[in-house]
Symmetry: C2
Subunit: 337 residues, 2 copies
């Protein structure tokens, strides 16, 4: 991916962070935000919808905050610049917030929040995306899947939540369609705003939010934070083809030392994990701490490699070939994580 | 309520803020967190589980943060002290965070977040509560309904989300039981961790989180923030009878001027409201901005008064009588809001 972006005129460091963000997602089994999404970025760059060489500009700045304009740029380099600035600030102020507007899709929010937690701080991020979520009775999307991510620093385990506010993703619906299976009730609406269990109707329709009106309200709050509050578009105003669109992004960092020593926090988290894992349950049910599943994926995929589905691999190979990148490079061993 | 708390030895200002927090909830039709909960506080004070005269202590403090110890105190005065300190700090630092531990139930989080937004800042709060929520296959509660609240300042409308992370509340289940109706699937589990539509089984069992594992993960993150991070108990460690228990509370405040002029934010929110309200929909479906329903309740109940159910009124009357407070005072007109 790095070589592909470089070949498209993306500066070296920007190409590297973009590839890193995509591989981060694949390693955690978030394949929807991995290499396949990177190939969508390629389309976006070719169409002129994504600026491959953005000049990132500071719009406002204080000791504890920064607002960036992403110059319609490839999302990961802009978001990475944002998170690095927020991490620098939180070191002196204890709590810091940054926002970026006028940028394209940033991939998995967890990538940026992980950078905050690895630096030893509590991290949180929200972003809004093109409207795809609705509620029964409304014949239009209302909000995006508007993800939220929160991470707590610990050198003993990864504690990281990174989730969209829809019950299911489009990816899940598409794989039901591919297998010829109906989708469960509660996942989607058809284009008239009526509940459906047909994956084909769902693709033309809208996703349902978690918790019905509760999830819709939460997605609206994210929309207002990432839009009106920072001067970005709201979900309904985000246009452009493909998932390389984005509204705004906010990143918050908090020094846990404001409250306790990090060692105490880590120990209390381990006690918490022991407690919830000791609860009486069916043998085939497991209570996991947010981030645990992704950690297992990293272990497995770091050793065995990242499996790409046939469609993604052939898209990747085709783009690589067009850009004169040899296929040998595509099958080289993945780096250590 | 103020007179009742004063009669129980609660200092004047503490009694006032507690009554105010309870009436805030009733005025917004959040009756579960109103006068009826205040009567639970009365029980908690009588049992010695709630300290009516807490000595609130600053554990740690910086320019942008504060950690309070609530001395096992009545929640609203402790939470109010916290939010006032956070508001004072955010004025100079642009972003500020506060936490309180060792306090009892604080009532509706929206009460405190509203104080932040009325001061012109973005506000957010999370708290953990006694474990009552679980997922299928686990024969124990795992987390509390661990509410979250977020508010955006605007002089043109209230934008405020205040929600528990369970699909339904115990209150709703109890009212189904009272009417002899089954509860919908997806609301609750029985005590063995199996899905149930019987309200009686649900009361002995657990509530289901919004979005299944997504809501559980979000509630766990809140639990970790309000517990391990600040040195409070996690949901499973919170004991004590009744809803007058609490883990910890965090309040965040952000100055919107870090990003834009408040006037610009307000105007963009109005555009947002117009946009989502103009979407094609069934005539009996309405798309509302978070906070809108509560605002309507305030208008209605400020004029007509707050209806109390018979049980709450008779409990109130009995307690008032015991404390020598005349019933005339209970039916006096409510103050302006």
């Amino acid at each position: 991916m790095r070589r592909i972006f470089e070949a498209l005129g993306v500066p070296n460091l920007f190409a590297e962070v973009t590839a890193d963000a995509l591989v981060y997602a694949n390693l955690r089994c978030i394949d929807s935000h991995g290499v396949s999404r990177g190939l969508d970025y390629v389309v976006g760059i070719k169409l002129g919808e994504i600026n491959p060489r953005p000049v990132i500009r500071v719009v406002r700045e204080t000791n504890s905050s920064v607002l960036l304009d992403g110059d319609r740029g490839l999302g990961p380099p802009v978001a990475n610049e944002l998170v690095e600035r927020v991490i620098e600030k939180v070191g002196s102020t204890g709590v810091a917030i940054g926002a970026a507007r006028n940028l394209r899709d940033v991939g998995a929010l967890g990538y940026y929040v992980s950078k905050v937690t690895r630096a030893g701080y509590i991290g949180a991020a929200v972003a809004n995306a093109k409207a795809r979520v609705s509620v029964p009775g409304v014949a239009s999307p209302i909000v995006g899947t508007n993800p939220i991510a929160v991470g707590i620093p610990s050198r003993k385990r990864t504690v990281l939540l990174d989730m969209a506010l829809s019950v299911a993703s489009y990816g899940k619906i598409l794989s039901h369609a591919a297998r010829g299976e109906r989708i469960p009730e509660g996942w989607a609406l058809n284009k008239y705003g009526k509940p459906t269990t047909s994956p084909e109707e769902a693709v033309e329709g809208y996703l349902l939010p978690i918790g019905g009106y509760k999830g819709l309200a939460l997605a609206m709050i994210v929309d207002i934070l990432a839009g009106p509050v920072i001067g970005g578009p709201v979900s309904l105003e985000i246009t452009g083809r493909g998932p390389y669109t984005q509204g705004g992004l906010l990143v918050l960092a908090i020094d846990p030392a404001l409250f306790r020593k990090l060692e105490e926090v880590e120990e209390a988290i381990e006690n918490y994990a022991r407690l919830v894992k000791s609860l009486p349950r069916d043998p085939n049910t497991e209570v996991i701490i947010p981030g645990e599943r992704a950690t297992k994926c990293v272990e497995e995929r770091s050793q065995r490699g990242i499996p790409l589905d046939d469609e993604t691999f052939s898209r990747l190979a085709k783009i690589a070939e067009e850009l004169g990148i040899s296929v040998t490079e595509l099958t080289s061993p993945i780096p250590n994580v």
